[in-house]
Subunit: 242 residues, 2 copies
């Protein structure tokens, strides 16, 4: 070794990427992936949009801090947040000190997204058409979209974006929104059925004129929600006095 190395330290922060499907009149009713952003009210990057988040406090666990800062800024309280990635490379922070941001993400249904309290400094944006964000948040959103598009299992998407019962056409519509392209209905059906991640029920969609389509459900024998390896510091949305 030619030099003495010094152990790296860092300050800690959390951010959250929350994806929901929204239908926009401009796109002719085709659902698209949207996410909420928060306008920064102080330097650095004052006035720019950023992911919900903030600093971690002494004594606070990572997932807890992610849920707290998300709730404080947007009012959103998804039933779970999954860890996406830790960003902590040496040159990512504008200041002298390294900042490690642990990023959490969740998919929420449109109804949950609409319940969130949205003020002047919170706005939903289409994930594919964002302004220049604060810090490295554009990179984080692009990575989250890539993970959503390549790594999400069929049942995860069904569970997160649809209700308890859904038709294969509704499920295909969600996949088309995520992938941003049309899928062949027959191929989609074959792939889904072979995957075993959704299960046909004996129920049919009501309110259609004839040949009502069959309803499917999430296969709950497969637990794909990644709550992480550790027991939680309380439930993130329960009982913390601030």
């Amino acid at each position: 070794m030619t030099a003495r190395h010094e152990r790296a330290s860092a300050i800690l922060a959390v951010s959250t990427v929350i994806f929901a499907l929204r239908t926009d009149d401009e796109t002719g009713g085709v659902p698209q992936v949207w996410l909420p952003l928060v306008r920064r009210i102080r330097e650095p990057f004052e006035g720019r949009w950023a992911l919900p988040g903030g600093p971690l406090w002494v004594g606070e666990d990572l997932a807890f801090a992610a849920a707290r800062t998300l709730s404080d800024t947007t009012g959103l309280t998804p039933s779970y947040l999954e860890q996406l990635y830790a960003f902590g490379d040496a040159d990512r922070s504008p200041g002298a000190e390294r900042v490690v941001s642990v990023v959490y993400w969740a998919l929420v249904r449109s109804e949950e997204a609409e319940r969130a309290s949205v003020g002047d400094n919170v706005r939903w944006f289409p994930a594919d058409d964002l302004p220049e964000l604060a810090f490295d948040h554009n990179v984080i959103v692009e990575y989250a979209l890539w993970r959503l598009r390549t790594k999400m299992e069929y049942s995860r998407i069904a569970h997160a974006f649809l209700g308890e019962r859904f038709t294969l056409a509704q499920l295909r519509g969600v996949h088309e929104a995520v992938l941003g392209r049309a899928l062949d209905p027959a191929n989609f059906r074959r792939t889904i059925e072979a995957s075993g991640t959704v299960v046909a029920t004996d129920e049919y969609l009501t309110g259609t004129p004839h040949r009502p389509p069959r309803l499917y459900r999430y296969n709950d024998q497969i637990d794909l929600a990644d709550a992480g390896p550790l027991p939680r510091q309380q439930h993130p949305f329960e009982g913390r006095n601030a």
Copy 2:
């Protein structure tokens, strides 16, 4: 707010979980999942086995540090390391200061595993039968196994554990090793074929007496290797003078 909160800081460390398949005489030739551990030669936990890893140096990127410490301790240099999870909860470190460990993982083929230089203080263990490890490393290995078993896509496992060409029976053998149970051959074939993640070639396995089985390859139009969202600080295994 009832109290003034203090921003959390931490010291940074990296660890790596390297999975390989090994065939043990005791199990009658059935492959099992193994991983390399390093014996600690100082306190805390002196004498206990631990994941390869160590502290991050000032100026060093996370993936770089993971590759450096893995290579230094075990001689292993997998072609990529994927970020698994960041462990940084308030109570995980024995000392006063919070330690955030960013854990990387990789699957390596048996040949790569065997090339590693293994000394007195490095040993391979079956992942399902570990001693009590240092720190929270048992929890980390259990989580990595869960991720391997529930979240690895078919083509990922094919690519990581098998060569460029493989039969469906070989691929099923890998899945059986990972899952720890037998799979129905016909169901396995249907699921794999519908997934589109492996592609039939015009080649057949040689050296079998009759009806040689068809060889398949990884579908390289699907890029599932998660190198993370960021360009790398050099290549982790290239050119760093220490």
